[in-house]
């Protein structure tokens, strides 16, 4: 895989299949045992190494206790009541029209200005053609192929690039990593694979939006992004529109690998259904996201805007192994109603002169609870490591709460650590000031909140940032008073 033409050939042949994945139209009965794991692998026609890896993960998972340390509360999950292989729903099983959908959700779609056909798709209604953007996708594919970038579903990648998968899958988040990561490794349904060859700057922002069947990746999604030396890629995950899903538990794994001088920018806007006013039916989003700055001077930057889900439990992290590598984490998390979030990051400094930046902005409204939990570890060889952490919480109303748990472990005397944390409320003074200038209370709140989040929004790709701002305003409507 050293010559560019070889990559081009592979990429070219890959795209002949388009972006679709062959999926058998059958759903397994609920329950999990080795037979189910084998059957998933068989159904996907996977090579033996993958079946073995899944089984190893499953056996390890059996030995692990379910973690309970996060500051979130939910009824115990019965893992035997989940079906671990579900083909996309057949049209006759889906809601027939928007009339069957939670009107609150529809209201939000309208406010976001989402076209009707797309509303249906997001709400899980059967539609024939989700996107009219076939031509867009074609142009898109062409320019990626020209650049030599591989962008496909992970199932396809297992078939078409087994060496790359074997080499990298699980190398950042091993199958033994944690309870949900082990479960994901055993039963992962599908996901995304991105490979950027040496020295290539990916010509566009990659987004699952362009992968037509990406919406059916199921509850155990797996993403792997490999950026070879000197390459650059920006990846967008999710969308601002609230997505519904029949599966309550989502346990995804995302692995990023950046070699020498490579840079990966990973942006997420997560807006899964938070449930109704009582929090019923909302998604549990338990995700393991980790980036490995394997090469010298590599850089991984996580930016996330988390407004959805009933429960969010995730810590996008960076392993700063390469000397002079850089890790960044920019986060806005909103909890309102009965939403709960325990989120933050881990920056593990291993190489010399590594630096990391953490900017976390938590907003709680209603009865939302939110916890920032972050670890900065400076290893014994990480000479000259630097970290700057800024962790701000904004409370709206008096029934919500915010906690901050920063963990700092320093094993090298040269480390330079800065930690700032604030908790504030939108003050009556601020609201009155804005209103005395002619702004409504809601406009004032949205303005103050957007101001609060500005440092993070600045990190998002332009149009994503605009959408995120809008999303935030809508999320917080009626949060005051």
């Amino acid at each position: 895989m050293t010559s560019a033409t070889a990559v081009d050939d592979i990429v070219g042949s890959e795209y002949e299949h388009g972006f679709t994945t062959e999926i058998a139209s059958e759903t397994f009965p609920p329950g999990l045992d080795e037979g189910v794991v084998r059957a998933i692998s068989a159904r996907k026609g996977e090579p033996e190494f993958m079946t073995e890896w899944r089984l190893k993960a499953y056996r390890h998972w059996l030995t692990m206790p379910e973690p309970a340390w996060a500051a979130v509360h939910y009824p115990k999950i019965d893992f035997q009541s989940i079906s671990y292989f579900s083909a996309p729903k057949r049209p006759e099983d889906m809601p027939k029209s928007l009339d069957e959908i939670d009107p609150v959700l529809l209201d939000t779609y309208n406010k976001l200005g989402i076209p009707l056909e797309e509303q249906k798709a997001l709400a899980g209604i059967a539609v024939d053609a989700v996107f009219d953007s076939v031509s867009v996708a074609t142009t898109f594919r062409k320019s990626l192929a020209e650049a030599g970038v591989i962008f496909c579903s992970i199932s396809e990648a297992v078939h078409d690039y087994p060496e790359l998968i074997q080499q990298h899958l699980g190398s950042v988040v091993p199958h033994t990593d944690n309870y949900y990561a082990a479960l994901n490794a055993a039963v992962y349904s599908d996901g995304t694979f991105v490979y950027v060859p040496k020295g290539v700057r990916c010509p566009m922002e990659l987004s699952t939006y362009f992968r037509i069947n990406a919406r059916n990746t199921g509850q155990f999604e797996r993403t792997l992004i490999v950026a070879e030396a000197g390459s650059y890629v920006s990846y967008l995950e999710g969308c601002t529109a609230p997505q519904r899903d029949e599966n309550q538990l989502h346990a995804a794994v995302v692995e990023l690998i950046a070699m020498d001088d490579a840079e990966i920018k990973y942006s997420t806007v997560q807006n899964w259904y938070p449930g109704d006013a009582q929090g019923k039916g909302g998604i549990y989003n338990f995700v393991t996201k980790r980036g490995d700055c394997r090469g010298a001077r590599s850089k991984i930057s996580w930016t996330q805007v988390e407004t959805g889900s009933a429960i969010t439990w995730k810590y996008p992290s960076c392993l700063l192994r390469g000397d002079d590598s850089i890790g960044e984490f920019y986060s806005v998390a909103v909890t309102k109603g009965r939403q709960q979030a325990d989120t933050g990051t881990k920056m593990i400094h291993i190489g010399k002169n590594t630096s990391s930046t953490i900017v976390s902005k938590g907003i709680s409204a209603g009865e939302g609870t939110q916890t920032y939990r972050g670890l900065v570890r400076i290893g014994p060889r990480a000479e000259g490591a630097r970290n700057h952490t800024q962790c701000d919480s904004l409370l709206i109303g008096d029934r919500c709460s915010a906690n901050t748990f920063p963990y700092i472990e320093v094993k090298h005397p040269s480390a330079n650590m800065e930690h700032e944390a604030t908790t504030s409320k939108i003050s009556d003074d601020q609201l009155f000031y804005c209103r005395s200038r002619g702004l409504t209370e809601e406009d004032a709140v949205s303005m103050i909140v957007n101001g609060f989040c500005k440092e993070v929004f600045n990190e998002l790709p332009m149009e994503f940032a605009v959408e995120a701002q809008k999303l935030l305003s809508i999320s917080l409507e009626g949060a005051v008073g």
Binding site: S427, D428, D429, Q430, F432, Y433, C434, R435, S436, R437, G438, L439, T440, E441, D443, M447, I448, N450, G451, F452, C453, K454, E455
Partner: protein
Amino acid sequence: MLAVKGLKANVGGKEILRGLDFSVGPGEVHAIMGPNGSGKSTFAHVLSGREGYEVTAGSATFEGQDLLALEPEERAQLGLFLAFQYPVELPGVNNTYFLKAALNSILKARGQPELDAVSFLRLIKEKLKILHLDDSLLKRAVNAGFSGGEKKRNEIFQMALLEPKLAILDETDSGLDIDALRVVADGVNALRSPERSMIVVTHYQRLLDYIQPDHVHVLSKGRIIRSGGKELALELEEKGYGWIDAEGQAA
């Protein structure tokens, strides 16, 4: 344009305004003076609709409307403006963005077309020029990290932009040195017009050396006890508030 009759208001159960009568005509500049605790700022806040003040009696009409029944933003949309004694910081909220949102919100409420970015910038440059202000102000977050003088200048700048019919300047001179005071006062004077009335609330006479009022009122214990021309301010400066209070008690 503004008529206040028999206004009584409580703060935290304590009566601060005790039957205040006051009126302002178009283009007039009124100064309200008084010792600390006389109810000057309470009066300014009640007029602009701040929460936490309980009006127990009396009325206030502005342009024929019952002012006290309106939300603060509705009062602003009607043409009322309060320059704060302690302008509030809005971290992360860009000053230009804030002003554009405020102005458009007011225009919208009046059924007038909102300004686009280009015409807004043109307007803003024009106002900066009138007030001799630096445009670095525009790029910063609203009042965040501003010095005392900058905050007060920013208030006057907002006033210039929103073009209120009635501006209430609440102790605009407090915390300003003489140079800053002059800059602020020049700004205010530049905004005087036959269509704009002003209420200048101040503890000290010195502001009135720069902003010449048409009328001066002395507020004491929640009531206006003396009204007159600008010479009243000089007399007060000379004799102190004790003089008025003593006279008030004697009367």
